[in-house]
């Protein structure tokens, strides 16, 4: 399968080959390799037959011709050569991705096992994280997993509506120049490193969020989410809001792309029925983009679940299961790895790797479902187009 997998017109029998070859030769004289543009323009689909294939197809049966002397036999296809090596190299490059993912799973498992063996508690239900004592390790990810899900959920709740709003604004409201500039601003937001968001959240944003928390607690304190017994400060709310700002550009850029792909005909169909702008969006844009929206939200979720440094800097790192989002506290699997790594011994590191394995599994599932949705959407669109 070295050359045989190129596209070729179906109707090229051996009989047309001589003519084909001469025409190709004359073309070769006209357009050189150095000017692919002109060469490409001059070839009609029929003459675009890959000439390297010619030998394989004609070699078995050179047409017997009485009048002409039999010409030289056509060169045979070389089995080994640049083509084979090159293809092998690229195959290795492609497979590297699969190998790396398999290796991640394998090595995390191998390194996690020693600490899980030494653990005296149930890894999935124990709240505290105390893995370092060699003969007395007690650790579990229950509170960390809870904190991870809680902060990711709040971040999504805040970020998704805003992100969809921005995406619609960029795709359907702003004029082209404004959309370009503002779209660029969103890209810049995506480019800011998470450690900078962490620093900003901890040194600056914590102030207004604390004020807001106090106010929420004063008027809505009867809701468990906003109750506080220990004051205010580096809370789940702060971490989640920073997280929301960080996933905003991801959700925005993907859903914006989906919205912009809405076929013009569908929008015009809605307009021709006398729909207002919002009605056009509701009847044509949003239903068309729904799988894309779901996928972009899942990607944002994957990012939120895995975010480390910004949360390590803004959360209060507690090991409790608490619904209050305004009191100091909160923790996530990833933030705990960053916070506990410095003081961890060999066994402690193994325990952190075990928690990382759980995180890996969760994000893998989230990402795989997101991709599966995108893929289904492609199929769905292909079916609708026929």
């Amino acid at each position: 399968m070295t050359d045989g997998d190129m596209n070729r017109p179906a109707n090229t029998g051996p009989s047309v080959l001589p003519a084909q070859r001469t025409s190709e030769n004359s073309f070769a004289g006209l357009g050189g390799v150095s000017s692919p543009d002109t060469a490409a323009d001059e070839f009609s689909p029929r003459t675009a037959l890959p000439s390297v294939e010619v030998p394989t197809r004609t070699a078995p049966a050179p047409a017997p011709d009485v009048t002409d002397a039999p010409g030289e036999p056509l060169p045979r296809k070389r089995r080994v050569g640049g083509e084979g090596y090159f293809k092998a190299v690229t195959t290795v490059g492609g497979s590297a991705v699969l190998a790396i993912i398999a290796a991640i799973a394998l090595f995390l498992i191998v390194e996690a096992i020693p600490s899980l063996r030494a653990n005296k508690e149930n890894f999935f239900s124990y709240l505290k994280w105390n893995p370092n004592p060699l003969d007395d390790a007690h650790f579990g990810i229950a509170s960390l997993a809870f904190g991870t899900v809680l902060s990711a959920a709040i971040a999504l709740l805040v970020a998704v509506p805003i992100a969809l709003g921005i995406a619609l604004y960029l795709s359907h409201y702003a004029n082209k120049r404004v959309a370009t500039i503002l779209g660029f601003a969103v890209d810049l937001l995506a480019a800011v490193p998470s450690v900078v968001f962490g620093l900003w959240g901890r040194e600056y944003f914590a102030g207004p969020v604390t004020d807001f928390s106090v106010w929420l607690n004063k008027y809505l304190g009867w809701i468990p989410l906003f109750s506080s017994e220990t004051g205010f400060g580096h809370s789940v709310l702060l971490g989640s809001l920073v997280l929301a700002i960080m996933i905003l550009p991801i959700v925005t850029s993907l859903s914006r792309e989906v919205f912009m792909q809405t076929p013009r005909e569908h929008e015009e169909a809605a307009m021709a029925l006398g729909a207002t702008k919002w009605e056009v969006i509701r009847t044509a844009v949003l239903p068309y983009g729904r799988p894309g929206i779901v996928a972009s939200v899942m990607l944002g979720l994957g990012r939120a679940l895995g975010e480390t440094i910004a949360l390590a800097m803004t959360l209060g790192s507690s090991f409790l299961i608490s619904w209050s989002v305004v009191e100091p506290g909160g923790n996530t699997i990833a933030a705990n790895i960053a916070n506990s790594f410095g003081e961890a011994n060999q066994q402690g590191r193994s325990a952190l790797i075990a928690s990382g394995l759980v995180l890996f599994a969760i994000t893998l599932i989230v990402n795989m479902s997101a991709r599966a949705i995108v893929r289904r959407r492609k199929k769905f669109l292909a079916a609708a187009a026929t």
Binding site: P263, H266, E268, A269, M271, A272, L273, G274, T276
Partner: protein
């Protein structure tokens, strides 16, 4: 009750490019008017100017006036969405909403107008589908996706969707150009029936079709590429196709150019 349309000095632009230049014509109510002409002559642009769909393309604008029963649709205080509800449109390629069922497609316009009662919607859907000669073919599968129909059925579905909101005028932009001959025939028959209730304006590339379905025909042309399109001749279809008064019309119709 169908409406009469008077176009007065309609000039349409795409950015700085003038697509059509001072087109004036009167389209009578309950008639079928065909717009014909070579590619790029501005017939589709003119059609889209009638229900203000031209301006949805960024940078596009229209000068002059289009009066529907004496009211200029380009007046400042006119609601664009109301114009488009009054003047329905069928597009070149069938464009049913891909995420909606057949039923939902037909009543999409009514739902937008706030009609919510199931019974009312059902009555309207059946009426529109019958009007579009599609009822018998789809009555058993109204909840199936509209995109699953054949091209010709999809186009009739789009016509049903357009007439379900009971417009006064129906604009058709080359409605048959993406269809096979049998589906084309079905649509042409339908146009003949629809003109009893609606004013119809149809853009077509197919001169036989213009001759078959229309009462009056307008021939648009352009001097050369880059020039704006102009209305060359507008008369009874019979006259245009048998005894046109303009040489250029005759050349086009007899196939000598375009």
């Amino acid at each position: 009750m169908a409406k009469r349309i008077e176009a007065d000095n309609v000039t349409a632009y795409y950015g700085n490019f003038r697509a059509i230049d001072s087109v004036s014509m009167v389209i009578e109510r309950k008639s079928v008017t065909a717009l014909i002409g070579p590619s790029g002559c501005g017939k589709s642009t003119f059609l889209r100017s009638i229900n203000r769909m031209h301006e949805v393309i960024p940078g596009a604008r229209v000068e002059g006036s289009i009066n529907v029963d004496g009211h200029n649709v380009y007046d400042k205080d006119v609601d664009v969405t109301a114009v488009r509800r009054m003047i329905g449109m069928v597009f070149q390629r069938p464009n049913p909403f891909p995420t909606m069922s057949i039923f939902d497609n037909v009543v999409a316009g009514l739902k937008l107008q706030g009609v919510r009662r199931k019974g009312e919607l059902q009555v309207a859907a059946e009426k529109a589908l019958r009007g579009a000669n599609l009822w018998e073919e789809v009555k058993d599968r109204l909840d199936k996706p509209g995109a699953g129909l054949s091209g010709g059925q999809q186009q009739r579905l789009c016509i049903a969707r357009a007439i379900a909101v009971e417009p006064q005028v129906v604009l058709m932009d080359e409605p048959c150009s993406a269809l096979d001959p049998i589906s084309t025939l079905a649509i042409e028959d339908l146009i003949g029936e629809l003109k009893d209730s609606y004013t119809i304006v149809i853009v077509t590339h197919n001169m036989q079709q213009a001759a078959r379905v229309s009462d009056k025909t307008a021939f648009f042309s352009l001097e050369k590429t880059g020039e704006p399109g102009r209305l060359v001749e507008y008369d009874d279809t019979q006259k245009i196709f048998t005894n046109p008064s303009e040489k250029r019309t005759e050349d086009y119709i007899t196939g000598r150019f375009g």
